[in-house]
Subunit: 150 residues, 2 copies
Amino acid sequence: MSEMSKSILDQMLCFEVYSTEHAFSRLYKTLLAPLGLTYPQFLVMILLWENDDQTVNGIGGQLGLESSTLTPLLKRMEKSGFVRRQRDAEDERRVRVSLTETGDALRHEAKGIGTCVADATGMPGAELKALLLELRKLRNGLATHNLAAE
Amino acid sequence: MSEMSKSILDQMLCFEVYSTEHAFSRLYKTLLAPLGLTYPQFLVMILLWENDDQTVNGIGGQLGLESSTLTPLLKRMEKSGFVRRQRDAEDERRVRVSLTETGDALRHEAKGIGTCVADATGMPGAELKALLLELRKLRNGLATHNLAAE
DNA sequence: TGCGATTTAATCGCGGGCGATTTAATTTGA
DNA sequence: TCAAATTAAATCGCCCGCGATTAAATCGCA
């Protein structure tokens, strides 16, 4: 596959990214179901565990999600009892999202998940790390292009 | 970042895959909108352009999608006039999906898209190819694990 | 032969995901 | 000062994605 055209390469790459994401999603679904979290909800939790009390846009910026996606998602998380949503007193346009006791405690139950997934990949840490960096490069390239188009 | 734990690595990797997929999806959306296709619909078209007249399960197997996802998607594609859906006379359980004239002709209009995306990545072909192989490895690892869990 | 098991799509309900639009709060600047 | 521009979330309609279930056709085997 050395004389492959760029466009065929792209076709295969977009397919790989597409199906790898689905594979991750499926794996996480089974691991997260006992905790009562979905995969995107888990990503939000990771951000909040790292840095509690963030705005909707703040979270959206890090995950690349619009408020039209996040608002209903956060409402479901609120209903599940993991987060609180309250208007910022300083700036009433903003909604601040923060962990409840339950949400904070969930951190410990989620402890083993990462290692479990890393093992499921069947790839050594060094290789995963290299892949991570390549993906970041790719994403930055695409993001730059998406921005330029506006 | 050399003494990173496997679970942190996993967190970052799943995030990268997640957001890279979204970045691809957004880019394709803008490119495909003029053709009247969505990104998953485009993936189906690629399969049919390569190999016309496939069953729902055949397509689903290649894309990793369930009939519960494909049936409505294919119905929308049929309504758009790109494919035909008809019961297989040999085996009435099967539904065969085939290109219409319009769908086949669309192949030419989609010509430039691959190159366009490959350019948008801002990465040289060799690097993309290497990334492709790494992703395939990762996906196969995850898929194997998902199967083993059943 | 005929009946239970299997296979194939379709359906349903729910949770994402986004573009376009709306509403409300804040900022800007004439 | 105060009206226009901007910003933050929310809402709406549509498309995807899956698990669970269903309906129908086929297969397999006693």
